[in-house]
């Protein structure tokens, strides 16, 4: 205490408070930069950890796997028949054949019928078979799934054949203490999601609580592949328990096959240096933030019911590993999961992978987002502290500025919700939004408005607002920045990726400053404001993502994903944008224009 007292006295003596107050904008900016550095520093040696199996009961690869040799013949037999089904367009007809096979094996099968939200598509059919656990009370289940078509549009011949031959193989074991459900869906996007939803709402044939799910992808009819991609994404910032991912990685490597996370290319599999780790890390953040907006890999479909799910994808042709090796991975994984008496709870649920065997846990990466929230908080404080208004003045105008903030919040949320239900194609919506975003931002070039008053006539609304005193504007800006800080704080733990990305995207808004008439740099200032507004506009970011991310291709796809992902997948991203991001942008925009 004495020490603190001394420091306080020193600070007071040196007059640090006003000095620091003056430099608060700089501090805020530095914190933002530090946040980025923090993330980029994580892949440096010593900052990350090596993965380990936390739940002792899992014991991956401790038992010998027998899905080999003669099982390969059966697998080929099934695959040959499935190859013939490729020409049958109707999924219903295909499922009928598979259903007969599963019934012959001794499973109970059922067909789940669902409707696409797309009016052009006919009803979809998912097939599933239930194997009752010979040991155990039948209250828990594991899911082995494959879709007829992979997200890349290939025919998942090997995947479906593996599901059927593993069903046959598993049903001959007597060790299972959890029911096993074999699911074959039309695609790994909406069809699989609708099955999982129906399982928890309306299906009659159920096998208890699903503990874990493994989705298999083995496109093509070749026997050999090169390496395995482990895809572990979830929706709304959820990830499968790290133990499951570790189990998959450890088993695959035990089988002598290389593992790729975050779609690392084959030639980079052996690399484990700063840049490779950094790439995986950033890709992990990006994928998690956009999960559910693009074609999902299947594992996302299971997100949300305490189900740990991941997708195994065989990559490459003609490598050293054969299809039964690929089948032994789910076999050994199921044996591990079968050992569990409790649900997955030991290891991490929030983590970022750096390589198949390296990760950083939430405690290590979270500070970067915390720094961002602090940065916004400081900017907010700096606006009030440096505005030279008295406290009473600020307090007087608070209701007014809150009112203004509420209006913009209301407008943007109304816009957000209504856009989801407007039957207009996302292309048009995006074009309108983007152009309106640019036009609005250009309003901030008030400097030019003085020269020709035309624009002010086109937007008469703005003229009314011009009368607002500076106090209101300052408190409005401060409230807005504080709100941003709160949005990021509340998302921080549940959805780090989105919190971090929104924080970074909104950071330029802290540089927006009021125009002081008569100041020399008026032209420059208004141009900076314009730039900041354009950069932090959600539509600009969507445009950039759409162009850069190959999975999207166009920004229209991003828009489509945003608008439909709530309906199809219960993804909140669109709401986060319209409730957290857009109001802030609108507020700061109006602040710019009015000042």
């Amino acid at each position: 205490m004495a020490l603190l007292e001394q420091i306080r006295r020193k600070v007071y003596k040196l007059g640090l408070v006003p000095k620091i107050t003056k430099r608060l904008p700089l501090i805020s900016f530095l914190l933002g930069v530090l946040s980025c550095i923090w993330i980029l520093y994580l892949p440096v040696d010593g900052q990350y950890r090596r993965t380990y199996i936390s739940e002792n009961a899992l014991m991956p690869s401790q038992a010998y796997s027998y899905f080999r040799e003669s099982e390969w013949n059966y697998e080929r037999g099934y695959r040959d028949e499935i190859h013939k089904l490729k020409d049958i367009e109707s999924i219903f007809e295909r499922n009928k054949v598979i259903s007969e096979w599963l019934e012959a094996i001794g499973l109970n099968t059922a067909v789940h019928q669902f409707h696409y939200n797309d009016a052009n598509k006919t009803a979809g059919h998912n097939l599933y078979g239930l194997f009752h656990a010979p040991r155990g009370d039948g209250t828990e289940a594991m899911v082995l799934a494959a879709s007829w078509n992979t997200p890349d549009g290939e025919f998942n011949e090997g995947g479906v054949a593996l599901v059927v031959s593993l069903a046959r193989y598993f049903s001959r074991w007597s060790i299972w203490s959890k029911n096993i459900i074999f699911v074959i869906t039309e695609d790994s996007h909406y069809a699989m999601r609708s099955w999982v939803q129906a399982y928890h709402i309306s299906l009659d044939l159920t096998g208890g609580a699903i503990e874990a799910a493994v989705i298999l992808e083995y496109p093509g009819e070749h026997d050999y592949f090169k390496y395995v991609e482990v895809i572990y994404g979830g929706l709304n910032g959820q990830l499968p328990n790290l133990d499951l991912v570790n189990t998959a990685v450890s088993i695959t490597e035990h089988e002598g096959v290389k593992v790729s996370v975050q779609k690392v290319k084959e030639n980079e599999l052996n690399r484990n240096d700063y840049f490779s780790r950094c790439k995986v890390l950033l890709s992990g953040i990006k994928e998690l933030a956009f999960a559910g907006l693009k074609k999902t890999n299947g594992c996302e479909a299971f997100s949300g019911w305490r189900i740990q799910a991941l997708t195994l994808r065989a990559k490459g042709y003609g490598g050293g590993a054969d299809i039964t090796t690929f089948g032994r991975v789910p076999e050994a994984m199921f044996r591990s999961i079968n050992n569990l008496l409790e649900k997955f709870h030991q290891s991490f649920f929030f983590y970022l992978m750096l390589s198949p065997r390296n990760f950083v846990s939430i405690g290590t990466y979270l500070p970067s987002a915390v720094l961002l929230t602090v940065s916004f908080g400081i900017s907010s404080a700096s606006i009030i502290l440096n505005s030279k208004h008295s406290e009473s003045q600020i307090l007087m105008v608070l209701p007014k500025s809150f009112g203004l903030f509420t209006i913009s919040f209301f407008i943007s949320s109304l816009l957000g919700v209504s856009l989801m239900y407007i039957p207009v194609s996302p292309d048009i919506i995006f074009r309108v939004l983007m152009s309106s975003g640019i036009i609005l931002s250009s309003q901030s070039l008030n400097y030019f408005n003085y020269e020709n008053n035309i624009q002010n006539k086109t937007f008469p609304m703005i003229r009314i607002k011009i009368n607002l005193p500076l106090t209101v504007l300052h408190s409005l800006l401060s409230i807005t920045l504080l709100y941003t800080s709160l949005v990021i704080t509340s998302l921080l733990v549940v959805h780090f990726s989105i919190a971090f990305l929104i924080g970074i995207c909104l950071l330029p808004l802290t540089f927006v400053r009021p125009l002081r008439i008569g100041s020399e740099s008026l032209k420059l200032r208004s141009f900076v404001n314009f730039l900041c507004l354009v950069i932090s506009c959600p539509w600009t970011i969507i445009l950039v993502i759409g162009v850069l991310d190959k999975d999207f291709g166009t920004p229209f796809k991003v828009m489509e994903g945003l608008l439909t992902s709530w309906r199809d997948f219960e993804v909140w991203t669109w709401f986060i944008i319209t409730f957290g991001w857009l109001p802030v942008w609108l507020e700061i925009f109006s602040y710019c224009v009015i000042s």
Binding site: M1, A2, R9, Y66, R68, E69, S70, E71, W72, N73, Y74, R76, G77, Y78, D80, E81, A104, I105, G106, N108, H132, A133, P134, D137, G138, T139, E140, R168, Y169, R172, W173, S174, H200, I201, S202, L203, D204, L205, T206, G208, A209, G304, W305, R306, L341, E342, K343, H345
Partner: protein
């Protein structure tokens, strides 16, 4: 000719020896009212249902009457361990069931014996007790469950107020007796295993050493996909002396090919190329093989299926000891009797096994799919959880009546743990025909830590309909110490019981069956958290203590005083003196240079 002569002479010897034997037996022992029976029923897709039944009557076991007869507590063949239960408590009936696995009614039809003796997953106990009040009945019940817990090596001692229910409509109507209470409890998590089988067999007059019970073996029984053991003790019908009737049942479902495969190798190891069973109609060569699943030819012996032979006979039983076979003409069955005199073969079931020292049954068919017409139940019921939240959820029960013209009247019974707070107003039927379907509701809400919730519904399910019933519940937080070990496993819910009320005009019996149990996941704390809390609290307390201590014992002075004091500080004065000296010496040195 020789052979014929040999056979005849054999037969003569056999018959004479039998007479001799009977004579010896009769002269040595009394025969007791014991009877046993094994029924083998082939089911589709190469399954076999083996039902073991053991019936036994007791002499009167009430002490006073016992004294009159034998003058000591001799229960005769009736197990001596069970006697004291009935002596020391006012238990009038006792029903105990152990079961594991899944009976697929859509494939195999009704449960054996109309489901009267088949339990749901885990252990189920119900009993009627004569008592003056419910409390007294419960006190007796507690004695009973603790006694049975030790006897059957099951965790029945964990049965307490929070798991005990009082069914009203499900079993017999106790209202016709004065002061009779029916109590029931279920342990759905209890794994049934060998340690429950051994005490079960010990209750038999033959102790599992002779007669058909000698077939029973833990490995074989617990390998089966579904098995159920039950003990039912009731007062003997039309008897006034308080004599009891005990029936023990073991029903097991056996998958014949998989059992033999399991005996050959418990692990499904890869087989050699010529052992592959391929479908000839599909591509098959050195690499390709589409598996052929259906096996029509079956030929096996009971000895191989159970891994044991029937040895010795039930010599002390008055009743029969026989093996029955229940199937179509496509099945050839022969009983092989082995005595000292030789082997004889009987082709006409039922077989009386009391005629031999060793007995074996051979079963053969070339069309294993042709079995007796399956008697399907009138109704199928399935139950599952809905919702995904940690704080609330729902239950969905689906009733399927496939019959085109018959409506089904049933009683649906469900007991729910107190930490599942159900809302009866959310109970809804999807078909919106509440009044037509629900005839009567008996609902007892749960009391926290005291009583489980209980729902009993009398329903009429219209013909050709699928009706789903939903209700919602809240999950409550348990106290820290109330979580069981392995808390993250979740909490098992009792299987619900369905009684299909038989049509008395068709002289149908009531049919009982149970749904599967469910796993409820409650919000579970991180159990290492309290230690973190302790550490944080301790730190905060230490800091607070330090500050307050400082405030209390230190003198308050203003800033000037502090600075003034610091000038007079001895250390500072010393330091200044030293500095002055140092400076002067340096200056001296410089001037010297």
């Amino acid at each position: 000719m020789d052979l014929l002569y040999w056979n005849i002479s054999n037969f003569v010897v056999l018959v004479t020896s039998l007479f001799q034997l009977n004579f010896i037996v009769a002269s040595c022992f009394d025969k007791f009212p014991a009877e046993e029976k094994l029924v083998l029923t082939p089911l589709p897709t190469n399954y076999l249902l083996a039902s073991f039944m053991f019936e036994l009557d007791s002499h009167s076991i009430k002490k006073i009457e016992l004294d009159e007869i034998t003058n000591d507590s001799n229960y005769q063949a009736f197990p001596k361990v069970l006697g004291p239960i009935f002596e020391s408590t006012n238990v009038t009936e006792l029903h105990l069931k152990f079961a594991r696995g899944y009976w697929d009614a859509e494939k195999w039809g009704k449960l054996p014996n109309n489901g009267e003796f088949s339990g749901g997953t885990g252990v189920e106990l119900w009993s009627t007790i004569d008592a003056n009040s419910e409390e007294e009945a419960f006190a007796q019940w507690e004695i009973l469950v603790n006694y049975l817990s030790g006897l059957f090596c099951a965790s029945m001692n964990f049965i307490d107020k929070t798991t005990t229910t009082y069914p009203q409509k499900l079993f017999e109507d106790t209202s016709k007796y004065e002061n009779r209470y029916l109590l029931r409890s279920v342990l759905p998590k209890e794994p049934v295993c060998t340690e429950n089988l051994t005490p079960f067999l010990r209750l038999l007059p033959t102790k599992g050493k002779a007669g058909i019970s000698s077939l029973l073996d833990g490995h074989q029984l617990f390998y089966s996909p579904w098995h159920s053991m039950s003990i039912d003790i009731k007062p003997k019908l039309n008897s006034s002396k308080g004599e009891l009737h005990m029936s023990q049942h073991i029903d097991q479902l056996i998958n014949i090919p998989s059992t033999f495969e399991y005996f050959r190798s418990p692990i499904p190891k890869p087989v050699s190329g010529d052992a592959l069973r391929c479908d000839d109609n599909k591509r098959h060569d050195l690499y390709y093989c589409f598996p052929k699943e259906s096996i029509n030819n079956l030929s096996y012996e009971l000895k191989d299926l159970f891994g044991k032979e029937i040895e010795n006979r039930l010599l002390i039983g008055k009743g029969k000891s026989e093996i029955c076979f229940d199937s179509t003409e496509e099945w050839k069955i022969s009983g092989v009797t082995e005595t000292i005199e030789g082997i004889s073969i009987n082709k006409e079931p039922p077989f009386d096994i009391n005629l031999s020292d060793k007995f074996n049954v051979k079963i053969e068919t070339s069309q294993s799919g042709k079995v007796k017409k399956i008697d399907y139940p009138n109704i199928f019921v399935s139950r599952s959880f809905t919702g995904y939240r940690e704080d609330s959820g729902g239950i969905r029960i689906v009733f399927k009546n496939p019959s085109l013209e018959r409506a089904v009247r049933l009683v649906y019974f469900e007991s729910l743990p107190w930490y599942m707070r159900i809302y009866l107003h959310t109970l809804e039927l999807i078909e919106r025909l509440e009044n037509l379907i629900i005839k009567e509701v008996y609902f007892q809400p749960s009391v926290d830590r005291k009583r489980p919730g209980q729902i009993e519904l009398e329903l009429i399910i219209p013909p050709n309909s699928i009706i789903s019933m939903n209700y919602k519940f809240d999950k409550s937080l348990l106290l820290y110490s109330e979580y069981p070990p392995d808390a993250n496993h979740g909490f098992e819910l009792d299987p619900s019981v369905v009684k299909v009320i038989g049509d008395s005009s068709r002289s149908e019996k009531d049919y009982f069956f149970r749904t599967t149990s469910l796993l409820l996941s409650l919000p579970t704390p991180d159990f290492s958290m309290p230690y973190n809390v302790i550490i944080f609290t301790s730190t905060v307390m230490a800091l607070t203590y330090g500050t307050i201590f400082n405030l209390l014992i230190k003198r308050l002075i203003n800033e000037e005083e502090t600075e003034g004091n610091s000038k007079n500080n001895i250390l500072k004065r010393l330091k200044q003196k030293f500095l002055v000296k140092l400076k002067s010496t340096i200056q001296k040195n410089k001037s010297q240079q």
